[in-house]
């Protein structure tokens, strides 16, 4: 047992892999500075020098193409974005270049490129720093999209991404950075494309992505007190989406809620719901409930932001409704509060 944070796990994954393979390098805006992308790249510059850990101009599009070029020439780049929103400047590279480069060369070239992008709430980030966008990435054939939830996943999936010969986008929720968990010291990888049951249960299944897993587990813990047994399934990888464990769970429970860390409409929750409906046809006892962001741009003011984002309480109320329960008394329960974690400036 060695408890470290998700952030430390990410850092350790890169450190160990970079020690193993000198062709791996990490780059991106702010990567080598003292803040190190919320701490995740801290220490890498000192250890590997600026040849392998470097800052870049504010040129997301070119820096993404740059990664592709280095990857087809046998390097293994890790490109880091402190917010996924900035990656929108490079969608052309993702959709028109990276995702199909190998295909277009008849399999001659490989594209071992990792793109890490942070999502999540801060100190009033507003509408330009709050998107998730992973459903768009998942929609495009040729990209793998991974959303680690636990510290153990963070290390294992990042190592798997680095070792993968294909482009992998890792989506990391910044609130997860502080999650603490048991993480093996030695390098290991967790297969891309495997779901994970975060909590076993039998009355209802919650499929959650990224941070929403933390909220879902919390909701499950609270509901347990009134005798409701919730199973929380984390797909971890959304492209390719392996739905086996999800389907098995829903077949068992008969009820399902999907809690996605994104807008609901045309999001990941739609694809997962469709798969479940199809494969559990006739088995589902109630329609699937989808929980996600309000379908609005994200506002700045905290009280509006709180309405924008769902949380454990949203999930609890939704479970109660689905199972026909009276709303339970939640006074005394302590839920995750960002405010308790930090105050500004960003």
């Amino acid at each position: 047992m060695r408890n470290i944070t998700y952030c430390e796990a990410l850092n350790e994954a890169m450190l160990q892999e970079m020690e193993r393979d000198s062709n791996i390098f990490v780059y991106g805006i702010g990567v080598p500075d003292h803040v190190g992308v919320f701490g995740s790249t801290v220490g890498l510059l000192k250890k590997f020098g600026k040849e392998r850990c470097f800052d870049t101009p504010i040129s997301e599009d070119a820096m993404t193409g740059f990664g592709l070029g280095a990857a087809i020439n046998k390097m293994r780049p890790i490109h880091v974005h402190i917010r996924v929103d900035f990656l929108l400047l490079a969608i052309n590279q993702l959709a028109n270049m990276i995702s199909c480069y190998r295909y277009g060369t008849g399999g001659t070239l490989k594209v071992p490129l990792v793109i890490r992008a942070v999502v999540g709430r801060g100190w009033g980030q507003s509408f330009q720093h709050s998107k998730s966008m992973f459903s768009t990435f998942a929609h495009i054939p040729g990209l793998k999209v991974v959303l680690p939830t636990t510290p153990k996943d963070a290390k294992g999936l990042l190592i798997a991404a680095i070792r993968d010969d294909n482009p992998v986008i890792l989506i990391e929720h910044r609130w997860l950075y502080w999650q603490v968990g048991d993480v093996p010291e030695e390098p290991y990888s967790i297969p891309i494309g495997e779901a994970n049951i975060l909590k076993k249960g039998k009355d209802i299944t919650i499929v959650a992505t990224s941070w929403m897993n933390v909220e879902a587990v919390k909701a499950a813990d609270v509901l347990e007190k009134i005798g409701i047994s919730v199973e929380v399934v984390d797909p971890r990888t959304i492209a390719p989406l392996n739905d086996e464990i999800i389907i098995k769970s829903v077949k068992k429970t008969g009820h399902c809620i999907i809690a996605d860390n994104d807008w609901v409409d045309f999001g990941v929750s739609a694809e997962i719901a469709t798969k479940i409906y199809e494969k559990c046809f006739g088995v589902l006892k109630s329609p699937i409930e989808r929980i996600g962001f309000a379908h609005t741009p994200c506002p700045t003011a905290r009280h509006l932001e709180n309405c924008f984002y769902p949380n454990a309480v949203t999930i609890i109320r939704s479970v109660e409704k689905k199972l026909g329960l009276e709303p339970m008394d939640l006074t005394g329960e302590s839920f995750y509060s960002h405010e308790n974690r930090f105050k500004g400036p960003f």
Binding site: S59, S126, T300, H303
Partner: protein, 323 residues
């Protein structure tokens, strides 16, 4: 001249004082919005905005406290928005990074580096077509010129003879990264000068100098119908985001700051006016502004938050029902 100098001082003082109030109040955690402070750049925005008319338009970045106040002097809305209150035009939806006041020509601010530059060019194009004589100035940092869209926008304005003022506020930093680690050239003005563009540059912290430069830029534009690129240096006093100094971190030296602070734009303007014997008038102005700000803050604090339904409003025009 003294009227001009005094007006300029008023704006400089208004900005500095407002930000000082932010520094005082931010730790109370009522302003839940990331503060990218302007301290140090006041001469630029005041100089430029003073050369513009009320109806002229500006576009800014997430670091637009100074620009917003220089253009609008609207401290009521400023503090209301910082506190996320319903009394702000944006009702707290935008925060520090997306200030706006279109009725006073502040057309918006973007926190995606350089993304507003092309928008400003389009706005200027519309003004040209509508023949409404409104000028457009777009403010951006030395980091923004690394984004491809800056070059696209520059090319477009030069090609179409759209009279935009491109105002590059160069503080030599993008977050913690110095210019030399980001630019593959020695001089951006040398490069832009090869476009069909007027180019002017200045390192002064004297707002009046900047003001005159901008008058010149506007005149140049009238003469040759080319946009103008203004390259203006300044020193960022505080950390990239947040209200503190950060000289202890080591990516820059406090001596630089000390040098620049000697010619701090507010102090500079004040000492000029004092030398001219305007001590009394200054006192009055400062007092008025202190009051104005105090009142704005009081109103902001007192105002309620918007109803939760506000979340769903103003996404579409005339179409609130469908979201």
């Amino acid at each position: 001249m003294s009227n001009l100098s005094m007006d300029i001082y008023r704006k400089l003082y208004l900005i500095r004082k407002s930000e000082e109030e932010i520094r005082r109040l931010y730790p109370e955690n009522e302003m839940k919005t990331p503060m990218h402070m302007s301290m140090g750049e006041e001469a630029i925005v005041v100089g430029v905005c003073h050369a513009l008319s009320h109806d002229d338009q500006v576009f800014g970045t997430y670091r637009s406290h100074a620009l917003y106040l220089a253009k609008t002097e609207n401290t009521d809305n400023f503090f209301a928005e910082m506190c996320g209150k319903v009394s702000s035009m944006q009702k707290g939806k935008s925060g520090s990074m997306h200030l706006c006041d279109p009725n006073r020509g502040f057309m918006g601010a973007s926190a995606i580096v350089a993304s507003h530059i092309s928008v400003a060019v389009g706005a200027a194009f519309a003004n040209l077509r509508l023949k409404n004589k409104k000028m457009v100035a777009v403010f951006f940092g030395d980091g923004a010129i690394e984004e491809g869209t800056f070059w696209e926008s520059l090319n477009l304005a030069c090609l179409m003879k759209i009279p935009v003022l491109f105002v590059c506020e160069d503080n030599g930093l993008a977050v913690h990264t110095s210019e030399s680690e980001r630019h593959g050239y020695d001089s951006i003005t040398d490069i832009v000068g090869k476009f069909k563009c007027n180019v002017l540059k200045e390192e002064s912290t004297d707002a009046e100098t900047i003001y005159k430069l901008v008058l010149k830029a506007i005149k140049l534009n009238e003469e040759n119908q080319m946009p103008c690129f203004l390259h203006l240096k300044y020193y960022r006093y505080l950390e990239h985001v947040g209200i503190n100094e950060d000289f202890n971190i080591g990516y820059r030296s406090k001596n630089e700051y000390i040098d620049w602070a000697k010619r701090d734009p507010i102090k500079l303007q004040k000492s000029k006016l004092l030398a001219l014997g305007y001590g009394k008038e200054l006192e009055i102005i400062e007092l008025q502004i202190d009051k104005k700000i105090e009142k704005s803050i009081f109103l902001a604090k007192k105002a309620p938050f918007a109803d939760e339904s506000e979340l769903y409003k103003d996404i579409f025009s005339d179409n609130e029902a469908v979201i």
